[in-house]
């Protein structure tokens, strides 16, 4: 298999995985925040009085 092809195939796969990971991070943060609103309210209060 052509060497440049190998290199770019790896780069391409890498890019896809990177984008997927970035998207996963965004999703993860949203999910975590949705699942713990009472905590978030408490944190907000603490932030306000500090």
């Amino acid at each position: 298999m052509n060497n440049w092809l190998i290199a770019f195939e790896i780069y391409f796969l890498g890019f896809i995985i990177a984008v997927v990971m970035a998207a996963m991070i965004k999703v993860m943060l949203i999910v975590i925040r949705r699942l713990s609103p009472p905590e978030k309210a408490a944190e907000k209060n603490e932030g306000g009085s500090a």
């Binding site: 790896i10 890498g14 970035a22």
Partner: protein, 404 residues
Amino acid sequence: MNLADLFQGVGTFFYQEPKIAIARVVLIFLGIFLVYLGKKGTLEPLIMIPMGFGMSAVNAGVLFLDGQKHLEIGTIFMDPLETDTTGLMDILQIDFLQPIYTFTFSNGLIACLVFMGIGVISDVGNLLRFPFTSMLIAMFAELGTILTFPIARAMGLSLGEAASIAVVGGADGPMVLFTSMLLANDLFVPITIIAYLYLSLCYGGYPFLIRLLIPKELRGVAVKSAKKTDISSKEKIIFDVVACTLLCLLFPMAAPLFLCFFLGNAIKESGVFKYMQLLEDVFLYASTFFLGLLLGVLCEGSTLLDPLILKLLVLGMLALALAGVGGIIGGYVVYFINGKKFNPTIGIAGVSCVPTTAKVAQKEVQKANKRVVVLQYAMGACICGVITSAILTGLYVSIIPLLQ
């Protein structure tokens, strides 16, 4: 008895091949030079001082291993090339660094411990705040890791050798050690040494690349940030666990590295202070110290004289140079996407020499405009760079064996 037996460090010069003897002399002086540069701060002293000393000592302290037969010449530091089990047991009891070499270096443990230490001093917060920006810059900074592979192949290297020297562009010493041990075992010594040498040079060399490719006005641009979202430790730990598991599933060959980095980071975020101290003060510094020492001692004149060395030296430099260029291109891309409210210099931090390149970015930006601080963004890109390097290392290590 002849005179050579009296002061064998000198005497052995006369019994060795001329090119090995010359290599020894060169390396002795190079070692001293490295210590000097490390002390001066031009190169990273944490690695260079033990490495330089090791280099000089191992090339000076050579003796006749077989008494007066004068046929076997070597040192009692360690023997990296011994593969026979019985022979190895003998050497383990005689050579003082052999235990450390056999039980931490050649199995990658020391690389993993360094990685654990890096995880414990890294803050993934900015990576989590700006995942797409960080990933973009980090992937652009992997340009060196990618382009060097076909170029190396064109220069005659095998698949495994080309991949190993290409990984130098990922700017992560432990990963280069790992990859070259797996894919290019005969050359892992020179490849790893070249990697660490050049990585130490990043601090000195990258500022020039930055000044060359980024005009002064752009170097001083302040980053317009939206409201800062708070990323809690809990969120960071969740990220560590998820990312670690995911990456291990995808690239089991690189799983030890993933485990160590994310475990280290999770310990930092969990606030288990005693463990944090253990990893940061003991593991990180101990492994860095011994890594430098072992690398220096591996630079024995006879081990380094592979004809491939010259090519490796060029390719290694190419990999890191292209990585820097790629990172800066990534910085420019984000600059334009963000409506010119981003500093392209941050791109260099995508080359994941943590935290060196982030500091280089910060220094160059502050030289152009003393009020602007980019360290946080740079660190986000830097850490992300570790992850992208890991992704590409995992890909190389998984794909190359399939092609052979």
